[in-house]
Amino acid sequence: MTLEHSIETSRPRFFTPGVWVVVAVAMIGAAALLARFVFGLGRVTNLDNGYPWGIWIAIDVACGVALAAGGFTTAFVAHLTNREEFHPLVRPALLTAMIGYTFVALGVMTDLGRFWAMWHVMLPWMWQGNSVLFEVAICVMTYVTVLYIEFLPIVCERFIGRVRLPGVLRVLNAPVDRLLRLLDAALGRVMTVFIILGVVLSCMHQSSLGTLMVISGAKLHPLWQTPMLPLFFLLSAFAVGFAMVIFESLLASKSLGIEPETDLLARLARFIPVLLGIYTIAKAIDLLNRGAFVHLFDGSRANMLFIFEFSLGVVAPFIILMVDRWRHSARGLFTAASLVIAGVVMNRLDVFLLAYTPAIEIRPYFPTPAEFAVTAGFIAMIVLIYRFIVLNFPVIERLEEVRA
């Protein structure tokens, strides 16, 4: 009786009052999404010829890709440098990346004027090798596939020995089980290749996402516009990858009512100040080199944005993580991780939107409620799917221990 009770309370339910709020946000988003496809971009968004890209690209795509970087950074640290202790963090990060990239693709599709022609990107005779966007698109598509493959062993693990098909399909239980075991064994043999491929593809498109805006030339403010954008994007992707893993892990512990892995996360967090340091040095060299540092003191809007982005996302977390005591506390870790995430989000927003000035501004861009609704709805759906998978698949180790 008591045992059953404890299982009852320790296995979290899918729906809580908070989750219902998220469901509501997702529903509103779905409605706005429907409106976009029925009425078109012009009626639903505030995009114009001066601002061809709005928050769907800046947030859903640019921030989405950056924040899903945890997948490849943890895969690298845990598998390739083979740090056993980090293995519990791999699956949650992989899951985030998988769902995150799926929604990046959906975000792109929402933004495409001719979304039904999206598959042109897959036709070799349409390819245009000079296009940075082409490289990003191909890498992202391949990487999503790799992520799904990397996730398959988790699906196998969930169902092996537990295939229970309903009704007459029951006869298939044994064959399906055997198939799963075969698949699992086969995947086990080739998984290393996919893991390395995932890291390579990530490095490629995370950096190219920065190269994307180089062609916009003078339209992007000189504090950000530099041929080194790919390097900055790559470095910040590394940093935010670790930050996301920490952030999520702490959040998951809280919402699922399990003990946070503070020590483990503190060890992972050590990478962040190193990356932020390299980023700062590279950024300083770049600003000096191009003479763009004069804009650091001109009091313009871009100047303020830059100071905000940099102190929030680089300086503050750097200080917090350099203090041992703070780094070893759940609160310090959570604060620092949140700051890095906020900083990278600001950076992507600046590069894709806020520091972008059209050659001739027809009118300033501010997203419509529908644009916000779609973006918020996508985030809500990500949260719901993440929660569902975490509660039903062996993703979070400690949760499994609780369950077992």
Binding site: N49, L80, M126, E135, T192, I196, I215
Partner: protein, 317 residues
């Protein structure tokens, strides 16, 4: 209880990269090389020496806006009466080409109160266009004889070409929900291929526009400057801007005062393509990264092989 051997479930796989893996890797690389090669083959930009262009002499333009009318007429865009062109109130605001006006004429007052001058604008048909370099499916194409042509049947509507265009001369049909197109001047390719003049050039009553070989237009432009040094600034806009353009401009005052962006002699596409092909040349960097990661994996797995064995025994009874 779950063993959580992470994503490499079997021990054989943990023995990191075997020779077999490297065979696979080289397969991937070969595919990559093939792709890169194909991409480079398509890069070659061969422009005809006799490619066409248009010279706009802004000192001649009277701002009658007949070219706007002719353009809409030739491109089947909504159009008013020819007499509507005489409406001067339209000059109060500065306009840009839109999806229904591929060319617009603005009246620009000089900064020092000098007499206004009229400026016709449309896609410049760059020699090395950013929009063409940006488009991932090749929907924008620079033809060898000059025009930069848009092919809606390839376009996916990402609008990256618009982000790339330094002049903001590409416009989008945002109101169209299903088949929106990028709209810009096509240099009347359908007319010129029949041997006719571009509609706007044919319409211009004062011959402010001259259609012809770009090299000859450049010569003509410099002749005009040389013969009338008081009439013109010594600058043919489009000769070098952003790598050069098919549309060339003459004016009586600095072009920056007329809303023309001050662009360097290199196309914005040049830098991006250099970065892109520098990083991905022959796929060398990604392949090297792949190899490096494989090596890191192999080394670190070897050094911890012992710990591994223990671990595996512990978790899988």
């Amino acid at each position: 209880m779950f063993a959580f051997p992470a994503n490499i479930p079997s021990r054989s796989a943990r023995e990191a990269l075997s020779r077999r893996d490297f065979v696979k890797i080289s397969g991937v690389c070969a595919a990559g090389l093939a792709t890169a090669g194909a991409a480079r083959a398509s890069e070659k930009r061969a422009l005809d020496p006799d490619r066409r262009g248009v010279l706009v002499d802004l000192t001649v333009c009277v701002g009658c806006r007949r070219c706007e009318w002719a353009c809409n007429n030739a491109n089947d865009l909504p159009n008013g009466d020819l007499s509507d062109c005489d409406d001067q109130s339209i000059f109060k605001s500065r306009r840009r080409p839109t999806s229904v006006h591929l060319t617009v004429v603005n009246r620009m007052a000089g900064s020092d109160g000098s007499k206004p001058i009229f400026v016709k604008t449309q896609c410049m048909h760059c020699e090395h266009p950013a929009c063409v370099s940006a488009c991932l499916v090749g929907a924008m194409r620079k033809t060898a004889d000059g025009p930069v042509i848009y092919d809606a049947s390839r376009c996916i509507g990402c609008r990256y070409c618009m982000v790339a265009c330094p002049y903001q001369f590409a416009a989008y049909e945002y109101e169209n929900a299903l088949t929106p197109q990028v709209k810009k001047c096509q240099l009347c390719q359908s007319r010129t291929s029949r041997g006719e003049l571009p509609a706007c050039v044919a319409m211009c009553p004062v011959e402010a526009l001259t259609y012809g070989r770009r090299d000859e237009l450049l010569k003509l432009a410099h002749e005009r400057i040389d013969c009338n040094p008081d009439r013109y600034v010594n600058h043919v806009y489009g000769e070098h801007e952003g790598g050069g353009t098919s549309w060339l401009y003459l004016a009586d005052r600095p072009f920056t005062e007329l809303g023309f962006p001050a662009l360097g002699p290199d196309s914005p596409a040049e830098l991006t393509e250099t970065i892109q092909h520098g990083i991905f040349k022959g796929f060398a960097a990604p392949v090297m990264l792949f190899g490096l990661l494989g090596a890191i994996g192999k080394l670190s797995h070897a050094s911890t092989a012992h710990t591994h064995a223990e671990h595996t025994e512990k978790v899988t009874p």
